[in-house]
Amino acid sequence: MQLSNNKVKCNHCHLDFDNDVMIFETLDNKELSFCCKGCQGVFHLLDDEGLGSFYDKVGSQTLHPIKNTNNDLTKFDLEGYSKKYITKKNGLNEISLIIEGIHCSACVWLNERVLHECEGIIETSINYTNHKAKIVWDPDIIKLSHIIEKIQSIGYNAYAYDSKLQEQRANKTRKEFYSRLIVGIFCTMNIMWIAIAQYAGFFTGISLSIKNILNVAEFILATPALFYTGWFYFKGAYYGLKNKIINMDFLIVSGTLSAYLYSIYATLTQTGEVYFESVTMVITIIFVGKYLEVLSKKNAVDSLDSISSSIPTEVTVIKDGKKNIVDTTEVEVGDLIEVKPGDKIAIDGVLFEGSGSFDESSISGEAIPVYKKNNDNIISGTVCLDSVITYTAKKDLSHSMLQSITTLLEESLTKKPKIEKIANQISGYFSLMVLSMAILTFIGWYMMGVSFEDALIISISVIVIACPCALGLATPVATLIGVSVGAKKGILFKTSAHLETMAKATTVVLDKTGTITNGHPDVVNYMQNSQFDTNILYSLVKSSSHPISKAIVTYLKAKTDVLEEHQLKDIKNIEARGLSANYNNQSLLGGNIAFLKEMNIDCAMDSTKSVFVFAIDGTVVCSFELEDQLKTGAVETIENIKKLGLEVIMCTGDNEHVANDIAAQVGITKIYNSMLPKDKADIILQLKRCDKIVITVGDGINDALALSKSNIAIAMGNNADITVKASDIVFINNKITTLYDALKLSRKVYLTIKQNLMFSLLYNFVTILLAVLGYVIPLVAAVSMSLSSLVVVGNSIRIKRIFKNG
């Protein structure tokens, strides 16, 4: 596969490489080329097992070159590990894995095939959408470590996650709700066309026999809708009664059930009109709102799963010169822990040996990594970026920063007040009133000498007409449309009740890093001193995962059309300072000013920002200035929010200098700086004590506690983290401008709900009065019921226009 410019395609990963780095070989008279031993190994493995057709299925897609992972696999067979992740059923083991490196359906095919070929594996199913795999195997024949080894041998990686927690439960409820919804929609759609015949028949005349047939058909369709789809409300009403509360569910049940029973009575006695279609419609429409809530919860759980799996569950402890993998819960104070580049710290401690940069952005919000050396504090939740270090544990797991924040968070989550309760109480009074009025009507008419049957029909008509069609739809339809309009704008409401609270908010507390700013440095200034090959610089910075290197990679990619990676030699990552390498006997150096001065390179520069200087053979050729920049639209958004009459406060873990600088740029006057996670939460509590309704926007673990304390917690979607769990609303698109949209939307929805409630209460008041007096003929009841619902739905649909007119 010879290409132009001396580029060769690797036969496994299909990426282009320089001719001189490739491994060539001939197999069955075919010229093959590989970029590395890993790719070669996998190619042969697949060929030997007769799985060569994988490459046809991959087509023109490219794969990642295979990295030789020599991980210690013994941990998979440890007792603690299997207790945590493996479920046993009939002597078979089952585990949920997340498989890394899947990017097309051919990968899924290959993994499933290879695993199926394995003796002892009973079942494998891999989900292409979220890369989760379920594997069932016989522990007598094969060990888990062999299964993982098999996956690694074909170039993928797998790690276990705890699916027991939320995912399965969330999935199950979602499926169940979905089935119920589908049944409801099916019944509604079918009953509607029968109802049209009924209505037409009422005006143009219809023979009694046909009417009866239609009634029976409607009965058949309404029954599953009421009892299967509406089961949820029966359950809610029952639990409400058990706790001596009459709730909204009870109102829905009593209304629909009495209309349903009355309709059966009307069908059997062949008198009056039936209301089956109203029953079905009300149940289904209210249920759609409920379903959307379940759906958004499921989305949150999904993103949460892959995070909780990234929190380390075991650490390497060095004891008597030997390295042991130990569960985090078993680490004792004083243990020596080894950390490799890219590892997340699980336990607080003090650095013992080595030095390196730590990404602390998730705890302090600091965007630039911090350099740590001997006796510096190591905080859990931070990530070691570039070197192998050992440190002494100073706390056990439960007292470490990460764990204590999580624990506090879980406590406050369970204590979070439910706003819906108040709304439920109001509807409780309403339904109590309607029910007693119906009973009084019955007694009244019966005493006045009307026959038992007529008195019953009149009293039922009171309940039927007061059936919470409009009232029941007033809130859910408006919030439903609000939530779906929000979703299109990248606002994910976890429950619809939050729209209401948000509309009443008085104060907005913003985090700085990741909320007002991008949360990572960007190149703001570029100075070139002399001509040089940009590709060399690109290759150098590409080798590092430091945020500054990444920012330069992004900048170079945007600036230059074609970038090529050169093979550099002796790449060294000097902690918190820079990089050095060798290319064609030229020495390359890149890093901050201190680093270059250390290397005796003259660079006269002075900047308050982060600086990256690049030198070839001791001469500075170019330099970059980097800064954590404001998100687009931050200034306008904060101005707009102020115009809505809300107070804006900034709360950050950063130092005073940076905080003031950013605050001045966006026009915030009230600033709290150098805040620890607990301090932030205290500020929120103080504000709440002054009767403020607080919205908090944040993105990191450091904000999670504050988020859980505030009335409305908004998480930025980029850091799908513990914040997502603590938050009520997630901004998936990660834009600050969304905050203004969300506020505008919630106010509009709240207004609409108020209008709807006003209308439906007025409607109910008038019609109940008429019904009590016995003036309501069935047709009026039927038409007015549908009409009132239509008014409410129509009014709610107007919410959709909010973002259309500017």
């Binding site: 009973i122 016989d138 046909i210």
Partner: protein, 75 residues
């Protein structure tokens, strides 16, 4: 229109509809819609070889489960 015709039409149409509904609910319950992408891409990997392998895997799975059961009853 004759009453019988109307009722027959209603019966047949609702019956057919519910048949579809039941099939859909069954599919949902047995997890056929869990993974949209795999479901759609399944059509791409549809050949004689793949069918044979699927059959082989199914057979082996049943055999494995049966062996396991036999062992247990013996023990």
């Amino acid at each position: 229109m004759d009453d019988n015709v109307v009722s027959a039409m209603l019966l047949v149409s609702i019956g057919l509809g519910s048949l579809g509904l039941c099939a859909f609910l069954w599919g949902l319950k047995s997890g056929q819609f869990d993974d949209k992408n795999k479901f759609l891409d399944g059509a791409l990997f549809d050949g004689e070889d793949d069918l044979n392998t699927a059959k082989k895997i199914q057979d082996r799975k049943e055999k494995n489960l049966k062996d396991k059961k036999d062992n247990e009853t013996k023990a």
